[in-house]
Amino acid sequence: MNIITLNKIAAGCKAVIIDNNTSGETHRRFADIGIIKGAEIECVGESPLGDPVALYVNGAVIAVRRGDLSEITAMVTKNE
């Protein structure tokens, strides 16, 4: 059982979101894109400077800042 906060995710990891404590604009933006409780996401890369990360979710690749992901907890299902 490998539980992390999503801001710590590394390239190549797959994870399922188990808790989402984002609020306000961040919450809505994430919801639209599909970053919600229960969603399975895969980190397919990170920017050359380490931040933002590229997340494959709902069939699309979205760049997200690590800072915005700190309120989300996920269970890692696959490490790179």
Binding site: E25, G34, E42, P52, A63, V64
Partner: protein, 591 residues
Amino acid sequence: MNKTIGLVGNPNVGKSSLFNALTGMHQHTGNWSGKTVELSFGRLKSNPETKLVDLPGTYSLDALSPEEEITRDFIEKGEYSYLLFVCDSVLFERNLTLLLQVLSITKNVIVCLNLSDEAERKGVEINTDKLSSLLGVKVVKTSARSRKSVKNLLKVMNEFSPITETSELPNRETLIKETLVSKNEYKKSPADKILTGKITAYPAMLLMLLVVFWITISGANYPSELLSKGFNNIENAVYNFLVGTNIPIFLTELLCFGVLRVLGKVVSVMLPPMAIFFPMFTLMEDAGVLPRIAYNLDKPFQKCSACGKQALCMSMGLGCNAVGVVGCRIIASRRERNLAVLTNALMPCNGRFPAIITLITLFFVGTAGGMINSTLSAALLLGVVVLGVGATFFLTKLLSLTFLKGKPSPFTLELPPYRRPELIKTLARSFLDRTVFVLLRAVAVAVPAGAVIFLLSNITVGEQSLILHAASFLDPIGKIMGLDGVILLAFILGTPANEIVLPLVLMIYSSSGLLGEAGLTETMSLLVSRGWNVWTAASFIVFSLMHWPCATTLLTIKKETGSRSLTILSAVLPTLMGVALCIFLNLCDPR
């Protein structure tokens, strides 16, 4: 019968391409989120009585940005016959969020499973009949590139009849289970390995920029010369004609040596680079390169409390600052948008390139010509741009600590799959757009500017023309900056169009009273005779990079920010930076 149809969908689904295919109207399409930021209207090619509205792309009707609000309001108001919901077949699941929201408001929808050619290639299969029966609306597979599918869509649109009964909508999971036969798996594109790779990303971006500059510079040379000669001929012809009429000589000279001369300069200097740069930029945009650039540069922008999308506005500013300022609309947060707007002029636009390149050639590289020299010129120009980038980060950080304080907004940016741009179509359309834009602007600017410059040069007070009076007045300030009064005056008079700054300097130096044609050698000897050296050239380049925006840009900034004080800041702050750096350079000059 007057019908209105609205086009709705997520960003990046090819909605605008479909809009173009249906209306035949020329409209720009971009491959990154939020690009279509204004409502576009058109009429169906096949039935001009039917109006088509292309709404800004949105992920959901919860509307977080003004663009998304427009879409939501339009749909809720209901002043349309039906909606065309454009779906990216490859990203079917993601598009369902908005689709289900729209269907809960109205059933008068035709669903277009767009990009169906790409979906097929990627192995994504959707059961259209099942989807249609589950949702209770017509579903059509489309691909904007396939004329047959567009014809088919038009047929379905013609046969549309309003749906009044409202049946229960299935939930998302059921829909996906029943209709998505096979989905695509993520595959990392080799291009991304280079463009966003840890070691290769920044060099790759610099290289791309270098290539763009090199093509712009080499490609623009000959056409600029041709245009210059052409305008010369027009000017002579008009002069000879008018001289034979009853029009007073003063007016003739004002028109020919003032207005036409400046018009010719602006167009011949500005048009070729712009006509090359923007089409290339558009190609990169259509291919999907630009979001990667914002992605790579977001971290430093984060540190300045700004947003990675600012990098895209800066890239546009390299072509034309006014265009760059308008492009800042892709930034949803007002504060971050203003940061991008106020710093855009620190990116040297195509109008400033020629003067910078001329001085680089004369004082730093040499006039020998050839491959090595032109590469060196492009590299030094790149260096100037990098300096501009550094200045942008500095000013952004400064503004975010003072006038534009606030919380950073959440940053999400879609990295769409790379697409093969429609080369000929894009180049042709962008080329025409740019050409028209430049010509219009040149006329609007040249007429007043040319008249003013002519008057100032030919009205004398005492022994000197007004222009020389003004130059001597500015001389003390100029000298502290390693420049002189003439150069400063030229920058001021060049506010309507940066293209005329260097020509103005030469004109005043040669006291010919006319903007003339000068070859490189004559230019060099003229400058040197007025005390120019490497340091003067360096100060000129620095000030060209960091001074108030041109008139068109200032007007655009006022329009986009709606604030007079922000517009004033956009003029004052870069100028202060430029003055400071020039003074510093002057102190370094051992002379």
